[in-house]
Symmetry: C2
Subunit: 500 residues, 2 copies
């Protein structure tokens, strides 16, 4: 296909350029075409160190109301455009973190502004319905044209929710309900079950479990948190469930040099999964479902091979556990396919797929069998927000119209090639460049070095995210083009060249 040919050509020219760059010299990409959309800026522009004086004053004000320790700076969203985030001190940064990966097509995209200014849409914003009891007339139609039009293979059912955590909580509940219905042969629950559930006791509230992986992040409400194992600060002091936790493969990079070792590592983890399923069944806490991210994001951008996921899916089936793929961070096109699990090449990749962030609404798709047998089992007041579905419809139109998945594949290849080159140039600082689409990451030699690089980059107009112990993660919007890749690489190269 023409586009992938172009991608390859660009990747080759990029590599050629990199070979020209002497260590420490400014990274210059001569072949990169400047493809700035008409609505965005063409480069970062910095006026103060970040956070600047206005951000600092606002931090002080907000500090009277909230813990502000996680705040980077305050933003001028009105002035932000496309890939460029503008702060309150007038600094304009290339944003490759995009609100923790939740901005699909950049800031103030004209298509989204049109949704807002279309008088037909006003009612959806000012009258938020209780979707589970009184949906608006266009709700089925909007679901078909938005979420159902991008449904993962084998899934025709979708439940919207307000956020990623609610999506996973309710996906877990669906798996528990499904599992117990199977166990009781689809008969009505006993009086004892109905009675004991009211006081949190089994058999009504059964000792079922969800198997998760070390390094996983599935959210922070208490059900989700029991499957999250990325950082202690998320979990410390919060009561949890005794649920099984399997090791996630720790692959060695570059993958092509460690084929045998990595295959062994994945086999070891899969064996452990089966052992845990058996062990927890013996303990009286059977595994109702397995939850996994296609790429562990918060946990450090940890990848596994399609083969690993295919075998895991089979293990789930073999043991009668539902298989839940959490695409909250990986979904929405950032890996070059709409869902990261599409890279596995399976016809029936999952029983449940949850989403949020770039989809603008939370929710999950599921197979028919995973639909609760009765109303009010999966329920809450809002069950999502139809105004977010309106935005999502328009985002999908833009993705299709502008061929953004191809764009992501192209930019992602350029980005990964660039990261490979940087780690070749600076092997004492960088390692383990990895990625799929623009969902890329690279490790620094220590957390202190990582943090220092990120702060320096921010002051030069490049805003990145971190994850794991010493990883920089790249989570640009889908409108991130090769031109932006080169801006990013140039800034990074400058910092690395100066790095002591």
């Amino acid at each position: 296909m023409a586009s992938s040919l172009l991608t390859r050509q660009l990747a080759i020219s990029l590599q050629q350029n990199l070979r020209l760059a002497a260590p420490g010299s400014r990274y210059v990409s001569k072949t990169a075409t400047k493809t700035v959309s008409e609505f965005e800026y063409d480069a970062p522009s910095m006026k103060t160190a970040v956070p600047g004086p206005k951000s600092q004053e606002l931090l002080r004000q907000l500090g009277e109301i909230q813990n502000v320790g996680a705040i980077h700076f305050f933003c001028n969203y009105e002035e932000s455009r496309g890939n460029y985030l503008v702060d309150v001190d007038g600094n304009r940064m290339l944003d490759v973190y995009t609100q923790i990966s939740s901005i699909p097509i950049g800031y103030n995209h004209p298509a989204l502004i049109k949704v807002m200014t279309n008088p037909n849409n006003v009612s959806a914003f000012v009258n938020r319905p209780a979707l589970g009891i009184l949906p608006p007339e266009n709700f089925p139609e909007k679901l078909f044209e938005s979420l159902l039009s991008i449904a993962p293979s084998g899934m025709n059912r979708v439940q919207t929710m307000a956020c990623g955590s609610c999506s996973n909580e309710n996906a877990f509940k669906s798996m528990f309900i499904w599992y117990r219905n199977k166990e009781r042969g689809y008969a009505s629950p006993s009086e004892q079950e109905v009675g004991t559930c009211m006081i949190n006791q089994s058999p009504g509230c059964p000792d079922l479990s969800i198997l998760s992986f070390m390094g996983a992040f599935h959210g922070r409400t208490m059900g989700c948190l029991a499957t999250t194992h990325s950082k202690a600060i998320h979990k410390l002091d919060i009561p949890s469930f005794d649920w099984p936790i399997a090791p996630f493969p720790k692959l060695q990079y570059p993958l092509e040099e460690f084929v045998r070792e990595n295959a062994q590592e994945e086999a070891r983890c899969l064996e452990e999964v089966e052992d845990l399923i058996v062990k927890w069944r013996q303990k009286g806490k059977p595994v109702a479902g397995i939850v996994i991210e296609p790429i562990q994001a918060e946990g450090g951008d940890n990848h596994a091979s399609p083969d690993f996921f295919i075998k895991l899916r089979n293990i789930a089936r073999k043991h009668g556990c539902a298989f839940h793929v959490d695409e909250v961070q990986t979904g929405g096109g950032t890996t070059g396919k709409f869902w990261a699990h599409e890279h596995w090449g399976l016809d029936d990749p999952a029983d449940i797929v949850s989403f949020s962030k770039k989809l603008l609404t939370g929710g999950y798709y599921h197979r028919d069998e995973l639909q609760p047998d009765k109303p009010y089992r999966i329920f809450n007041t809002w069950m999502g927000d139809p105004s977010k579905n309106l935005f999502l419809s328009e985002v999908l139109n833009v993705i299709r119209r502008e061929n953004l998945l191809e764009e992501v594949t192209r930019s992602g290849k350029a980005l990964l090639q660039g990261l490979y080159s940087l780690q070749t140039q600076y092997p004492h600082i960088l390692s383990r460049a990895r990625g799929q689409g623009t969902f890329c990451a690279i490790d620094a030699c220590s957390d202190a070095t990582r943090d220092s690089i990120m702060l320096k980059a921010r002051n030069k107009g490049l805003f990145m995210g971190s994850c794991g112990e010493k990883t920089i993660r790249f989570r640009p919007a889908l409108v991130f083009k090769e031109y932006h890749v080169h801006q990013l690489l140039n800034i990074l190269n400058d910092i690395l060249a100066e790095h002591k």
Copy 2:
């Protein structure tokens, strides 16, 4: 004050009218002033039975995607106005359920439409930020002018969240963090704590508990669900925590006839609370917090006296438990005060107050001590939605400008008086009329009768909610006026007169 004088006068004339109404005759309120706002309709208007043919066709369509068993009908929100909800078949109903009590000032209020059409606000809708790391410039200002301007007594700190469940989940987490910090003398966590929390084990994930009440509803995510005990269908098949559950007082009505019995009942429940706190401490699962609704809503509109709450608050303090008042349904003005707990007359009513629904954004207020010591302990991607804060600011302006709390007090008295009269007229069908402001309820003699009354009312243009086993709950918007009360009572009276 003039307004409460007026309220009393109207209540008296209403009572006089009721005395004139013979049993079975049409309820006619002669003194009620017609105070229809210029933007709404003046009465219900029915064209088909509900759900009508269009709703039924849409139900079929949506049934291919979701369980639709809880859906009443599909709505035409564009045509809905004020207290009147219009369905897709052109039926216009007086809505006293308001999207499970989540519409503060009626449908399509002109003030809210203005928020949408103000170009300065567009950016807040199309660029949803990760509030915990990159808030917009006006975020502190908007918090001060919206949520902080209505902060409960003794609370200057507020954390926004996306929905009621997330609010309670994070409120619980704040209480656990606070409790453990106290226990460890505000020292750093041990290595063992940091290590064990990653695998869901104590001491890192400690065996702490939240004490809740039978009949309570605090949400459906797994932490919240462990404190929810209103209906089995919410809890069946979902694993839970072994947390203590105290009895909520079962008061006898009318309250003035059962003063001694009710005081004894409340004393019995408080004694049980203390016993449970001691018992769970001995079990090694200390109670970090007590959570309670000022009026149990989902559980059946169960009230308790201010004295009960005052003593409960003291018990919490005595045993070192945080006291969390869940105002998700009671907050926002519907009881005649902005927060239902203001009726208790305490200077320090709570340590945490959570909200959602009518506030349009979820969240919770808390005392300074309940603020987490470190960033990222209470955190998620969105942490609310600034576009909801914009709407809330405007809702608060309308509440102040139109004196809606006084209006609620006035309409509430008329409603409760009307319900008293109906239960006097139809003692074989109705009993236990109760309420505060317009947050009113009445019991039917059975669940079947309750459901039958509700369906008949719906077909006559009155849309109500249910709760508990056989209760009808009234949850009108704050723009519900005496004129609407009389429409409601007339329809109910017609149905009751015909009831076999």
